[in-house]
């Protein structure tokens, strides 16, 4: 590898993954990034984008028209505005839920994994017990205990976020604990021990930074799960009042009776919003997961310029080097600048599939 340090920008999780990707994996990552980008931008610019407020009422159940592009709901809300505002609620819940569970899970995992003993045993049993509950049931119980089921904007968002947090903490806890136990036996941790370093110093300076390297992956995958859990809570009626904030799950719930009456617009749009948000986050998470693993990562074929190359692997067909004309040049330029990635995403030497 290069001895010079890469600029910080390219060592950031997502960008470094983008630079390393080729072919199909790159396409998936970019599709995910675009969807997630749209999702986040919508949330950020909701006040600008939405034609009406989320709690503004009009005539109920109007079909899509010039005044209401996606029609109105049975409660008289504008569907387009509700979907756009809903993105904001979703992002808020994701951020709060993931940040809370991240802090609690990482701290508990580090301490439990490094110290071991009875503390470790108790925490593992608790985590397993939480796992044993169906996620949604747990979230509902939490939601009821926190807010009594229904509440204001922040009350609702917090209760949704905390319910999700309770489900997620064991996941972070387990990953970090397993990583910590592995690192505990590494020679560099023993080296620190031999030097006489104190336990907190070993945990925070030596273990922490090495144990948290896989977190961006869980983080993205959990975000998509958070969207789903929140939508499910809303659908079941444990979400947020329609006057406090827009919430996709709640809107879906209200659209339930519309379907038999042939009113499709109230259900389809929030539904698509959920699907796309989850799809985008999952695509980012999954492709980052594959790209971080050198065994799953697809690579450009070596020496693509020489004409007489033959694959040597037993049985497997050699990668289809399709457009051999400008392959190497486009690929290398794409690799050097992430901006050029979008254009060359689809063609290029496709070597996406690796591993068994």
């Amino acid at each position: 590898m290069a001895t010079t340090k890469e600029p910080l920008l390219f060592r950031l999780p997502v960008l470094s993954h983008l630079r390393r990707s080729v072919g199909l994996q790159r396409g998936m990552l970019i599709a995910g990034l675009v969807l997630t980008g749209i999702f986040l931008l919508t949330a950020l610019l909701a006040p600008v984008l939405a034609p009406f407020g989320f709690a503004q009422r009009f005539d109920s159940q109007q079909p899509p028209s010039a005044a209401h592009l996606w029609g109105t709901t049975v409660g008289g809300y504008d569907v387009l505005s509700r979907v756009i505002w809903g993105a904001q609620t979703a992002v808020l819940v994701i951020v709060i839920a993931v940040v809370l569970s991240l802090f609690a899970g990482v701290a508990l995992g580090l301490v439990s994994g490094y110290l071991g003993g009875w503390l470790d045993r108790v925490l593992v049993v608790v985590a397993d017990a939480v796992y044993a509950f169906p996620t949604l049931l747990l979230a509902i119980v939490m939601s009821i205990t926190i807010s009594g089921g229904q509440s204001s904007l922040w009350g609702g968002i917090l209760s949704a976020a905390i319910s999700i947090t309770v489900v997620f903490i064991p996941q972070y806890f387990r990953v970090i604990r397993a990583e910590t136990i592995r690192l505990k036996a590494e020679p560099f941790v023993e080296a620190a021990k031999v030097m006489g370093a104190s336990t907190p110093r070993i945990i925070f300076r030596h273990v922490y930074r090495n144990a948290t390297r896989t977190l961006p992956l869980i983080f993205t995958l959990n975000s998509s799960e958070a969207v789903l859990t929140m939508a499910a809570l809303g659908f079941l009626g444990f979400g947020i009042e329609p006057t406090s904030a827009a919430e996709w799950g709640f809107d879906l719930n209200k659209a339930l009776s519309d379907t038999t009456a042939g009113i499709w617009w109230t259900g389809v749009f929030p539904g698509i919003a959920i699907v796309l948000a989850v799809l985008g986050l999952t695509l980012v998470g999954e492709s980052m997961n594959d790209l971080s693993d050198s065994r799953l990562r697809g690579r450009r074929r070596a020496g693509a310029t020489t004409g007489t190359t033959t694959g040597t692997t037993a049985g497997t067909t050699t990668g289809t080097v399709a457009g051999t004309t400008t392959d190497t040049t486009t690929a290398s330029s794409a690799a050097s600048s992430p901006r050029g990635a979008t254009e060359s995403a689809a063609p290029g030497p496709l070597e996406g599939t690796a591993g068994a």
């Binding site: 590898m1 560099f188 006489g196 690579r299 190359t309 033959t310 690796a354």
Partner: protein, 567 residues
């Protein structure tokens, strides 16, 4: 490149009549990696005659293993190769997968480095040998079993009829390697590719496996391609040697010529770097134990260390009734094979393992029932160098931060004073001060081990424990690190416990040598006396088994070893 023959045919064989078993022509292998294309093998040509042992030697990254894997078509998907690898007429590189399967096993077989991972733990060894037979034609269950027994007998496994039904874990390491060789032999291939076949084994076992391979050649006429980095193994077994460096063939000669008069500069350097038992001994000229006037830093008396067993089963006694002392300024070399307890002793002195019984006094502190809190102040006087330089540094910290870590922990110095001390230390181990800003993965293995030494010396310790510090390094790098270690020890004057399985390496550094065998200290004495005239039967066997990098001398040692074993 010494093999630039333009004409096809058999360029390396004296007798043009014999068809070579293997011929490699202008082989190139390129890997796709994150850092761009890597040319692992760059234009290699060689051939192997029937009944010949060809050794391919080189340091890590020389392309020797990639060459070996190409012979069996075992390259990963990221590799692209060109050229020709001809095994009895068919080109492995371009042949169809079905034909390749036929060639594997029948024409050429492989012996892997690590016998414990090359065997599948859930099947009996007989099943695994028979698997190769069954996949090459219709063999009845009974016949396959008979041939598996026969193959096990060939490689010298006692009671093959019974042991054919054993699982891999019921064999010792050396026997497992025999089973792997038996599986390779099952179809009587003309060629065996052995990739570092003895590297994972102890010296005494290594000698047995080398004898076995030699017998195979002599009795069955099997050709062997031996991939190794160990010049002693080459001197012991090979007929002809190909030296590789960075994907290229540097030199090719028969074994006697290569060791006697190496032509290329690289080969000369490589041979000079190989530690040779009895040369360059640290204890040369000593008649009595040195440094006895100084303070006794470590004193073990009837030391016992046990690892707790599982519930109900007794613990494993790793160290049993061991007594020794290390005085100030002395280098104590601890030699032993795997499982002898040498690392356990080193770790116990550093407070990483608990002492079960007896007494171990480290810098005046009794380690039996020691409390971490009371021992922590003593730690600053103990430096520790770990075996694997790659994993003994926190990958998230720069080399400078890693070396500064012990200084920061004690809080002796602050701010610019720390970085000045780090620069000083790096200079002492001959690393440029600019390396302080690099991350561990940006350094080579040898450089990392120097940095590791710098870290161990950061607080001017009175005692340094080095646990196999050079066994993960290439010979040429090892030679430099050993030289550095010797200089620094002379300069700083600390006492050291030097742990290694390599007798020659221990002899280079240590004034006083202890030999461990199954947790017991069987012999101790002045380095060159132990190496030159061992008294304990185990030490005698150990030293006789060590191959020396000189074919003529090794042949003599081999006969001497046989006589020793017979008596």
């Amino acid at each position: 490149m010494s093999t630039s023959t333009q004409h096809s045919g058999t360029p390396h064989n004296e007798g043009p009549a014999t068809e070579p078993v293997l011929r490699i022509d202008h082989l190139k292998v390129t890997f796709a990696t994150d850092g761009g294309d890597v040319h692992a093998v760059d234009d290699v040509s060689l051939s192997v005659a029937p009944g010949e042992v060809l050794a391919i030697v080189g340091e890590s990254g020389s392309g020797k293993t990639v060459t070996a894997k190409t012979i069996l078509g075992l390259l990963p998907e990221t590799a692209v190769s060109s050229g020709a690898v001809l095994i009895s007429g068919s080109d492995v590189i371009s042949v169809s997968p079905a034909k390749l399967r036929q060639i594997r096993g029948q024409e050429v077989a492989m012996v892997f480095q690590e016998p414990s991972t090359a065997l599948n733990p859930v099947f009996t060894v007989g099943w695994q040998i028979a698997e190769g037979l069954r996949s090459h034609g219709n063999v009845s269950r009974k016949e396959a079993r008979a041939r598996a027994i026969e193959a096990l007998g060939k490689v010298g496994i006692p009671e093959p009829e019974k042991r054919v039904d054993y699982y891999p874990h019921q064999f010792s390491g050396g026997q497992k390697q025999r089973v792997v060789i038996a599986a390779a032999l099952a179809l009587n291939p003309g060629l065996i590719v052995a990739d570092e076949p003895t590297t994972a084994l102890d010296v005494t076992v290594q000698a047995e496996i080398l004898d076995l391979l030699r017998d195979l050649r002599d009795v069955f006429g099997t050709s062997i391609v031996l991939i190794t980095h160990n010049m002693g193994v080459v001197a012991d077994l090979a007929d002809r040697v190909v030296v590789m460096y960075q994907g290229d063939v540097v030199e090719e000669a028969d074994v006697a010529t290569l060791f006697a008069e190496p032509k290329q500069e690289y080969t000369r350097k490589l041979l000079a770097a190989v530690p040779h038992l009895g040369r360059n001994s640290a204890s040369a000229g000593l008649t009595e134990r040195a440094h006895q006037g100084g303070e006794v830093l470590v004193e073990a008396r009837n030391l016992v260390i046990e690892y707790p067993g599982r519930l109900g089963s007794p613990g494993f006694r790793a160290v049993n009734d061991v007594s020794f002392t290390i005085s100030a300024g002395e280098v104590f070399g601890l030699v032993g094979e795997s499982g002898s307890g040498k690392t356990t002793i080193g770790r116990a002195i550093a407070g990483l393992n608990k002492v079960t019984g007896g007494s171990l006094k480290v810098l005046g502190h009794e380690m039996l029932n020691v409390r971490e809190r009371s021992f922590r102040p003593v730690r600053r006087d103990i430096g520790f160098v770990f075996q694997d330089p790659a994993s003994s540094f926190n990958p998230q910290l720069t080399i400078g931060e890693c070396v500064a870590e012990p200084i920061l922990i004690t809080g002796d110095r602050k701010g610019p004073d720390v970085s000045r001390r780090v620069a000083e230390l790096l200079e002492a181990v001959q690393l440029p001060a600019a390396y302080a800003d690099r991350y561990p993965h940006e350094l080579s293995g040898g450089q990392r081990q120097r940095a590791s030494l710098a870290r161990a010396l950061a607080l001017n310790p009175r005692l340094l424990i080095a646990d196999e510090p050079t066994s993960a390094l290439d010979v040429s790098v090892q030679a430099k690190v050993l030289e550095l270690f010797r200089e620094i020890q002379a300069e700083f004057g600390f006492a050291a416990l030097f742990i290694s399985h390599d007798l020659a390496v221990v002899d280079i550094l240590s004034h006083w040598v202890g030999v461990l065998y199954k947790g017991r200290l069987v012999e101790e004495g002045i380095g060159n006396q132990v190496m030159g005239g061992p008294k304990d039967p185990y030490t005698q066997r150990l030293i006789a088994s060590l191959p020396v990098p000189d074919p003529a001398e090794q042949a003599r040692r081999r006969t001497a070893r046989r006589e020793l074993l017979r008596s």
